[in-house]
């Protein structure tokens, strides 16, 4: 075992960009290899092998979020067929917890990024607005398992929530006004004052490897 281990430059660059430590990246890389069965890219089918994920009613949307190009690179659009490890890390970084040493501006940007991720999850036709129909889809997905709940009830829940959203964003609407959909700015307005950072993160433990060589 004479090989020395040096941190490659690209790993450092990844670490800076996504905010993970190099140990976490190594662990995620192993997980990536496991999911992709040692290929270089992951496709949607690879997520089928996770039993815990099957429990989740919005499983489809979560997997879709990984392949949504809007989440991978700013100003791009559409769906990717497969993603590589760098893309995987980029999506994972949306769930990074806040660090102690962040300043106001960083925190604000952080929050915006997380909310944007969530916005994209709702906005399934990529038109930049969450319409009533899209919102109804989400509610139906969350509730579809219950035989006691009819489609009508799911729709009324969605309608009620949209009205609340409209009242926050637009204020009182006239009888002729049609509320087209929630744009990203309106979305941000809705979340003002609510602390989402602690709810939208996955706490990575610090994995120390037993030995290092420097």
């Amino acid at each position: 075992m004479g090989s020395a281990h040096s941190v490659p430059a690209e790993m450092r660059e990844l670490a800076d960009r996504t905010g993970f430590t190099s140990e976490q990246i190594e662990h995620l890389h192993r997980r990536f290899k496991q999911l992709s069965r040692d290929q270089l890219t992951i496709r949607k089918e690879n997520f089928d092998s996770i039993p815990d994920l099957e429990f989740n009613p919005i499983r489809g949307k979560i997997v879709h979020a990984f392949f949504d190009k809007r989440n991978l690179r700013p100003e791009s659009d559409g769906l990717a067929d497969e993603i590589n490890f760098e893309d995987f890390l980029t999506i994972m970084s949306y769930f990074r917890p806040i660090e102690m040493n962040m300043d106001e501006e960083q925190l604000d940007r952080f929050r915006k990024e997380k909310l944007k991720f969530l916005f994209h999850m709702y906005d399934s036709d990529h038109d930049g607005k969450i319409t009533l129909q899209e919102y109804r889809n989400v509610v139906e997905e969350l509730l579809s398992g219950n035989p006691h709940l009819e489609k009508e009830s799911a729709r009324s829940i969605a309608d009620g929530a949209m009205m609340e959203a409209a009242s926050i964003c637009v204020g009182q609407m006239g009888p002729d006004q049609v509320y087209e959909g929630i744009t990203f700015e309106d979305f941000l307005k809705m979340w003002q004052g609510i602390d989402i950072e602690t709810k939208m993160h996955v706490r990575f433990l610090n994995m120390e490897t037993i030995a290092h060589c420097y």
Partner: protein, 446 residues
């Protein structure tokens, strides 16, 4: 040339003679010459030294952060139940925020899930000088590398041929011995002889793996007419248990060498081997097992209810078929020590031959076997609850975690019914809040 041939032949004969004298004969008599104990002591000392060297090699002072043993995973999961979490987020009846909970759970599952973990080898806390376990560990010092090199030579050039010879002797004598005993008419002499043959051959095979097995609570050993139930990690489990007592095995009929062994042993001892087609017929299986159990003079049956090999960090769902037969269940917990050699067989990654090769080139197989007090099905308890009770007992004794998942998930997908469970729970919550009743017009709420 002739002299070389002669010399080799004499060397081979001398080798065999030594092996027979020092290993085969003592194991036939159930004695121990203390060679393996000495080997284990040397091995333990070497590994301790290696660990200290590796720890000394760490130069960076570690900042105070959350540390955890590798086996527990890399994320800290928030275990608050769905109700509390969503109640906290609620200001109105249904909010955009409900999606957070599920989103986060989904991401946690993607980063790490409990089930897939169980089908890969356990991670070690410290390197054990085998190349195959070197995942995290980097170059430390020249001395360590030299020791590792010596280890490779010892394992491949000395231990491997020795173990191979022993295994060959063991398997041949098992086949020959049981065939011979099988010729005798059914009598107590035959049973006694068959036990002797089985025990001897198991002992030889255990030595072929350099196995160090510690049996605890021998007073709870399975009795005749009972069913012995254990957690499954590898095909070696059966040999480990047969080393200490005789069992009637249950399993599928295989082809090849395994099939030969099966056919030979079934003549001497009433093992229950099923044809592939019969396994599908559960009633037939249960019937045959019931007949076997009802006969109190027959050896206890050995069953592995998980149905597949798990990596020895947890116990997965027990299939209820074994628990419907009736009779007394004798649970046994088997826990391997991965530091000396990983016994887990990942059948999707390695075939049986490369698995055996890996086992034979490990340092040793060290395991603890706990015999536990017998359990019977209580009044009003159905097979599934009984199976879970036995499983908890085994998990607790062996220090393993319990997972409610089916080992069959190694190959198959999760059933849709599980997803619907979660959706049902969530919608029940909404209904309970009364939101449905207030919003909809005239529809019945739950």
């Amino acid at each position: 040339m002739e002299e070389v041939g002669w010399a080799l032949a004499r060397l081979g004969a001398a080798w065999l003679g030594l092996v027979l004298a020092f290993i085969v004969v003592p194991s036939a008599l159930g004695l121990s010459l203390g060679i393996s104990e000495a080997y284990m002591r040397v091995l333990v000392k070497t590994l301790e030294w290696a660990t200290i060297r590796i720890e000394k090699g760490v130069k960076k002072p570690q900042p105070q952060m959350l540390k955890t043993p590798a086996a527990n995973g890399i994320i800290e999961r928030d275990e608050t139940p769905m109700e509390k979490e969503i109640a906290r987020l609620h200001r109105v009846d249904f909010e955009f925020s409900d999606i957070f909970y599920f989103c986060r759970k989904g991401f946690e599952a993607i980063v790490e899930d409990e089930v897939t973990q169980r089908f890969s080898s356990e991670e070690l806390v410290s390197w054990n000088l085998l190349t195959r376990t070197n995942v995290n560990f980097h170059y430390i010092s020249l001395r360590l590398t030299i020791v590792w090199g010596i280890g490779v030579i010892v394992r491949y050039c000395f231990l491997l041929p020795l173990r191979f010879t022993l295994a060959a002797i063991g398997i041949t004598s098992m086949i020959v011995g049981t065939t011979m005993v099988g010729q005798l008419p059914n009598s107590s002499v035959k049973n006694y002889l068959s036990e002797v043959v089985h025990l001897t051959c198991s002992r030889i095979l255990v030595r072929a793996l350099s196995g160090t097995i510690r049996y605890h609570n021998k007073e709870n050993k399975p009795q005749k007419g009972g069913i012995c139930v254990a957690n499954h990690t590898s095909p070696i489990d059966a040999i480990i248990l047969t080393n200490d007592g005789c069992y009637a095995m249950v399993g599928q009929v295989h082809g090849g060498l395994m099939g030969v062994i099966q056919r030979a042993t079934v003549k001497a001892c009433p093992h229950v081997w099923f044809e592939r087609s019969e396994i599908k017929d559960r009633h037939l299986v249960t019937k045959r097992l019931r007949e076997h159990v009802a006969d109190k003079s027959k050896l206890p049956i050995l069953i592995f209810p998980e149905g597949t090999c798990i990596n020895n960090t947890s116990v997965m769902m027990f299939k209820k078929g074994s628990f419907e037969i009736g009779g007394t269940i004798y649970p046994v917990a088997i826990k391997y020590d991965p530091q000396f050699g990983d016994a887990f067989w990942n059948s999707s990654k390695y075939n049986i031959v490369s698995y055996l090769l890996r086992i034979m080139t490990s340092w040793a197989i060290v395991c603890n076997v706990w015999y536990m007090p017998p359990m019977v099905r209580k009044e009003g308890e159905d097979a599934v609850q009984f199976a879970n009770r036995v499983r908890s007992a085994i998990a607790r004794q062996g220090g393993l975690t319990e997972l409610p998942w089916d080992g069959g998930l190694k190959r198959a997908k999760v059933k849709d019914t599980f997803k619907e469970e979660q959706q049902k729970n969530y919608s029940k919550m909404l209904v309970r809040n009364g939101s449905i009743g207030s919003l909809s017009t005239g529809t019945e709420s739950d």
